[in-house]
């Protein structure tokens, strides 16, 4: 009984720690943009959608004995076209995430630098963050990745402290503001902050490939991360009021003696994640695209930097990566699940009807989200 509890709790905590990351720093600005009620409604709707996507991915992983990346499952179930699509969307998402880390990590370094009197432009700190992160990646100091879990926990701990500290300056009247005409604008940022697809295979392994345990871990992890992220976004929105595009704005929610808290733990969490995702990107180029190790390193480090030259806005990058790559990766999961369920339905029709109907709902949500972003709404 004890072993069972341990594996489920460890798996759900791993998922929670992975989901909570750079995306949470975009939430207060989006709650401030659409207001408390529209934001909360969309956020929890998407939390439910992501939970269902994670559950479907668990089903997909359990259907195969071999451990694979998303591209591997796409090749097995959807064939060559699915594999090609996953080979574009998965690295695309990692490149986008690394770009977000450079933008946000540099902003945190800049906050600390200004705090100790080192005044340099923001772009200097962002380049410094990339350069130090890149040097660590190139050195093969993989031990840093072992600190990722600890750093993430410090970030979560500091988020709880920040929520507590910001309650003192809440403006409850802000709850009455609502802009329903822009209800769908936060789609990308909310999706990005709830995205945990990349870690689900690890959750299944931690649950001992037991369906019931994996479902429970995924449910606790996804909803726990959603609750903490929502509380962070709402409390900072209520404390700051009109939150701008700049992560600097969030510091004003804290008493001045505590203003170091977010940047310090933010940097710790982001530099360790940067090292891990850059390594993942290098492996993707090396194994999936069969490039040489040196070329893989160069691409993994310099593609996000080249993108950084053209795009340095945190919020619109999170929005784009969340909507386009997050949405497309979720769509891939749904397509794989649909085909898998259709195959199973031939054998035993009754238990999979709900899964089939759920897949169609998810498919529609992600398609509407992506199309709406491109056709009707400018990126935030």
């Amino acid at each position: 009984m004890e072993g069972r509890a341990t594996s489920v709790s460890k798996a759900s905590l791993t998922l929670l720690g992975t989901i909570i990351g750079a995306g949470v720093f975009g939430l207060p600005a989006l709650f401030s943009y659409v207001g408390f009620w529209p934001g909360t409604l969309l956020f929890w709707f998407l939390a439910g959608i992501m939970l269902l996507t994670h559950v479907y991915l668990v089903e997909i992983i359990l259907a195969f004995r071999k451990k694979m990346r998303l591209a591997g499952y796409a090749r097995e179930v959807l064939g060559k076209r699915g594999f090609i699509m996953a080979s574009i969307t998965y690295p695309g998402q990692i490149i986008g995430v690394n770009l977000i880390y450079i933008i946000l990590g540099g902003a945190f370094l800049s906050m600390l630098g200004h705090g100790i009197g080192l005044h340099q432009p923001l772009v200097f700190w962002q380049l410094l963050f990339w350069a130090i992160g890149g040097a660590i990646v190139l050195s093969g100091f993989k031990f840093l990745a072992t600190f990722e879990t600890i750093a993430t926990w410090f970030l979560i701990g500091s988020m709880v402290v920040v929520i507590g500290l910001s309650t003192g300056s809440w403006n409850i009247r802000a709850l009455s503001y609502a802009d329903w005409s822009h209800f769908f604008v936060p789609f990308g940022v909310f999706l990005f902050s709830l995205f945990g697809v990349s870690v689900i295979s690890e959750i299944v392994e931690l649950s001992g490939r037991n369906r019931e345990k994996a479902f429970r871990a995924v449910t606790i992890g996804t909803l726990g991360a959603a609750l903490l992220s929502w509380a962070f976004g709402v409390s900072l929105y209520l404390a700051v009021g009109r939150v701008g595009r700049d992560p600097f704005d969030l510091i004003s929610a804290l008493p001045s003696s505590w203003s170091w808290l977010l940047p310090v733990f933010g940097i710790l969490a982001i530099i360790t994640s940067f090292v891990t995702t850059a390594e993942d990107l290098k492996q993707t180029f090396h194994f999936d695209f069969h490039l040489r190790p040196r070329a893989s390193w160069l691409l993994a480090l310099f593609i996000p930097l080249l993108l950084f030259i053209t795009q340095r806005d945190f919020l619109s990058t999170v929005d784009f990566v969340g909507t386009v790559f997050g949405g497309l990766n979720c769509l891939l999961v749904i397509f794989i699940a649909l085909k898998l369920f259709a195959h199973r339905r031939k054998k035993s029709p009754a238990p999979v009807v709900w899964s089939f109907a759920g897949s169609i709902v998810l498919l529609l949500v992600f398609m509407i989200g992506i199309l709406h972003k491109f056709l009707y709404q400018p990126l935030v």
Binding site: L118, Q120, V123, I132, L138
Partner: protein
């Protein structure tokens, strides 16, 4: 791979040097004489260059040619980064800034970098050679 490492490591190296120089400018050396501030500046540049050179050579037994290559990359990349950064900050033509940094007193800086890279290469080389020696011969 050493070429790639040297190119990449020269970027954080020079950015950290810029930060160190900014910190020194903010520091009040009074009542110490001016030369102490200059000495501290050179010392910081030496330490930072030595640290990044050690990091560049870390996994291999550096040869003399590789040491020279790393030194040249650090020097060229450092100059390029410095000139580009100043040009970005004060919006002045890149070439004008480049010609203005080519002064004879910069040779002291070049010597500082050479010293730092060569000591780092010597240190890493000695560490590797020591690690390969049979037991009991480490003190030789």
């Amino acid at each position: 791979m050493i070429f790639l490492r040297a190119v990449l490591f020269s970027i954080p190296r020079h950015l950290v040097i810029i930060l160190a120089l900014t910190a020194i400018q903010n520091f009040d050396f009074h009542p110490l004489p001016l030369w102490t501030a200059i000495a501290v500046t050179y010392f910081f540049q030496w330490v930072i260059t030595w640290f990044f050179a050690e990091w560049t050579f870390w996994h291999r037994l550096p040869r003399f040619k590789e040491m020279l290559m790393v030194f040249c990359i650090f020097l060229v990349m450092g100059t390029l980064i410095e000139v580009s950064y100043v040009s970005f900050l004060i919006r002045v033509d890149w070439w004008k800034i480049f010609t203005s940094v080519l002064q004879w007193d910069r040779l002291y800086l070049v010597a500082t970098y050479f010293l730092a890279v060569s000591i780092a290469a010597f240190h890493v080389r000695r560490r590797h050679v020591k690690a390969k020696l049979p037991e009991g011969l480490e003190s030789c």
